[in-house]
């Protein structure tokens, strides 16, 4: 096709780009503050956190000579490394002790094998006592028999690369061994269960929100303006209340000496000794989370239902459909877009929820995010937290993709 040109011979496309350039720059400048803000507070931290899940440079940085020396060592021979490696270890540790880096490495390696932390704390004193000219191998073996343990050296070799899949394996209840990747013994597996529980509970919460929210959204969309406005305020009221206040209110209501149990005992439904455990378990998480996430289901449903004229239901009935058939065949299919939007919103919020499960979940009702928070703030194993977070993010993206395949994301309507 012939390229169109302006009257003075400039290609039309070029001229359009030129004419729009100023506008584009101005538009970009307007959103620049937000863009920079998001970049600094959102994109960069997330990218950094994702990197931490595979970052393992601490081993090769603290023990540069040792890791190089270990490259030629084959653990399959079941022989301890040679004298040169021990010498390299001595040199590395001597420098590390001067810079006080050795305990950090100990903490890192302790995630993989408990005992490493104390070994490295102790080695600070041992290294300073070691003499030159004598075999370092013998001195190390004399200082602590862990230095003569093949497992210690296996660990060093396994974790000497700059990047590791160790955190991810641990997050999936697996472990690196010289014989390859293996699952942890049954008693030590926690994360897969936790992931499964998080997904299952989130699905359950989403389903509950849908079942409870659908009729309310219908009322909101179909009641006279005055009544529906009042109802809308009731729906939005939780939004205007602090999340902590709402969650604490559930504590007051649900605990064993709480309002609901008191009323049930007073009514004689349950005996005093048989008070129900409604909180600090999965039930507590379920109840509180459903309540908190309900508006996120109701609002998209409402905005979609509002656009469905009542004449559709009337038409269906005039054509001979019963109330139920009219609803199920005519009304419901038109609300699928709203259900999709509400469900995806509720589910994604639920799967990453932290505060409510923490406060009302006890030990059985916590989510994966509580574990992530634990690793961030208590165990300080940020690599593990990052790996768990990355898996959670991937999981959400995969579910989103599946959802797109089944329902179609273009069908999702927020209004």
């Amino acid at each position: 096709m012939e390229q169109l040109q302006t009257l003075n011979g400039v290609p039309l496309k070029k001229q359009i780009a030129r004419a729009l350039f100023k506008q584009k720059v101005r538009a970009l400048l307007l959103i620049a503050p937000l863009l920079i803000f998001i970049l600094i507070t959102f994109v960069i931290p997330i990218a950094d956190m994702l990197m931490r899940s595979i970052d393992n440079s601490i081993v090769s940085q603290t023990l540069p000579q040792t890791t190089t020396s270990l490259e030629s060592w084959d653990p399959k021979t079941a022989q301890l490394p040679d004298e040169a490696t021990y010498t390299a270890l001595y040199n590395d540790l001597k420098q590390a002790v001067e810079q006080k880096n050795h305990t950090k490495l100990g903490t890192r390696l302790n995630y993989e094998n408990s005992g490493m932390s104390s070994l490295f704390r102790k080695v600070g004193k041992d290294v300073s006592k070691m003499k030159e000219g004598v075999s370092y191998k013998e001195q190390f073996l004399a200082a602590d028999k862990a230095w003569g343990d093949l497992n210690t050296w296996n660990l060093f070799k396994l974790y000497s690369p700059k990047y590791t899949d160790g955190y991810f394996l641990a997050a999936l209840d697996m472990k690196k061994t010289p014989d390859g990747i293996q699952r942890l013994p049954e008693s030590e597996r926690i994360y897969l269960n936790l992931f499964a529980r998080t997904i299952f509970m989130s699905l359950l919460i989403t389903a509950l929100c849908l079942v409870l929210g659908y009729p309310i959204a219908w009322l909101l969309a179909n009641l006279p303006m005055r009544t529906s406005n009042l109802l809308m305020i009731l729906v939005l009221l939780p939004f205007w209340t602090s999340l902590l206040v709402r969650t604490s209110a559930w504590k007051v209501l649900l605990q064993q000496q709480g309002v609901i149990n008191d009323i049930l005992v007073w009514l004689g439904v349950i005996s005093h000794s048989g008070r129900l455990e409604l909180i600090n378990n999965q039930l507590g998480t379920l109840i509180a989370m459903t309540h908190i996430l309900l508006p996120f289901m109701i609002l998209p449903l409402y905005s979609v239902m509002r656009t469905i004229p009542p004449s559709y239901l009337r038409a269906a009935k005039s054509l001979g459909a019963t109330d139920w058939t009219a609803f199920w065949r005519v009304y419901f299919p038109q609300t699928v877009a709203g259900i999709g939007a509400g469900a995806i919103l509720t589910f994604i919020l639920a799967i990453g929820y932290y505060i409510t499960p923490e406060l009302v979940g006890g030990t059985q009702g916590t989510f994966i995010s509580n574990r992530i928070a634990y690793h961030i703030s208590s165990s300080l194993n940020w690599g593990m937290a990052a790996a768990l977070g990355t898996i959670l993010l991937t999981l959400v993206l995969v579910l989103y993709w599946v959802y797109d395949k089944i329902v179609g994301i273009d069908k999702v309507k927020l209004g």
């Binding site: 559709y312 038409a315 001979g320």
Partner: protein
Amino acid sequence: MSQSQGTQPFVLFDNVQKSYDGITLVVKSFNLGIDKGEFITLLGPSGSGKTTCLMMLAGFETATHGDIFLDGRSINNIPPHKRGIGMVFQNYALFPHMTVAENLAFPLEVRGMTQTEREDKVRKALDMVQMGKFGGRRPAQLSGGQQQRIALARALVFEPSLVLMDEPLGALDKQLREHMQFEIKHLHEHLGITVVYVTHDQSEALTMSDRIAVFNDGIVQQLARPADLYERPSNSFVAQFIGENNKLKGIVKDLKGETALVEFTNGQQAEALAVNCEGIGKPTLCSIRPERVRIGSQAGMYATEGKVLELIYLGDHIRCRMSVYGDDSFIVKIPNAGDGTMLSVGQTIRVGWDKNDCRALDA
């Protein structure tokens, strides 16, 4: 009912009243009998209660008082889906998530018809509205006129004997609307169904209906055939609502049988046909159709003087606004006969009309 089937009309509204809020009556007292095969139009301005009456017949509103009979049975307590009444809605209400064919099959499906029966009927219904090729399309892929045909076909596919239409042509442009009016009329004649049609468009009502019920303020002002409604409006609302009318305000001076002597605001007097006069000394409104006024006096006609105020050239006729009996908005339609008789503004001419064309109505 004590009446036998033979004498009772197919649809009967018996003293029906409707109130939504318990304070005002939307429908004050509605009585209407519709015969089988009739095309009845409920005509009136918005808020006059015509749609409410239709919705009560369809079963979407309950009558506050009175009974509605369909084929001799009271249907007050029958839910809409059991009434078997076809309905065409103002915005068509075609189900957007179904194809055209699925839309048409829906009423057959809920009636438990087999697949082959359904396909056969859907095809026939689509052919009937000349939309045979569009079965696989979605309603959103059709134009307004095509959607309207599908809505019509869907209301007819399950062969109801009564079809209600709630301003079905309101969303179409003028040309398409006129075309569809004929199609609906032909379908009605061809299928022999009874149609209750609601509209606020008087020309639509005149074109299509066997009889028209003119609504205002919750009351049927006049129920008559189109020609009667236009020629012989029984009150001033109908006279003004149907077609164009000149309204001359005056006071009844004398009543002799069917003739009333009216004194107009400028003191002049004239005779008019007494249709709806309350009595001597009471105000009245004389209505004369613009096309019934003749220029110049002719034998057997009532004539008076008028001053030309404005002339509007409209091609086939000339609209002349003049001052007659003190009324400055008196319109005369002068046919463009091509004889070169042109009026000029400011000229005083004689205008006349048949005495029976000047109807003295309520004021």
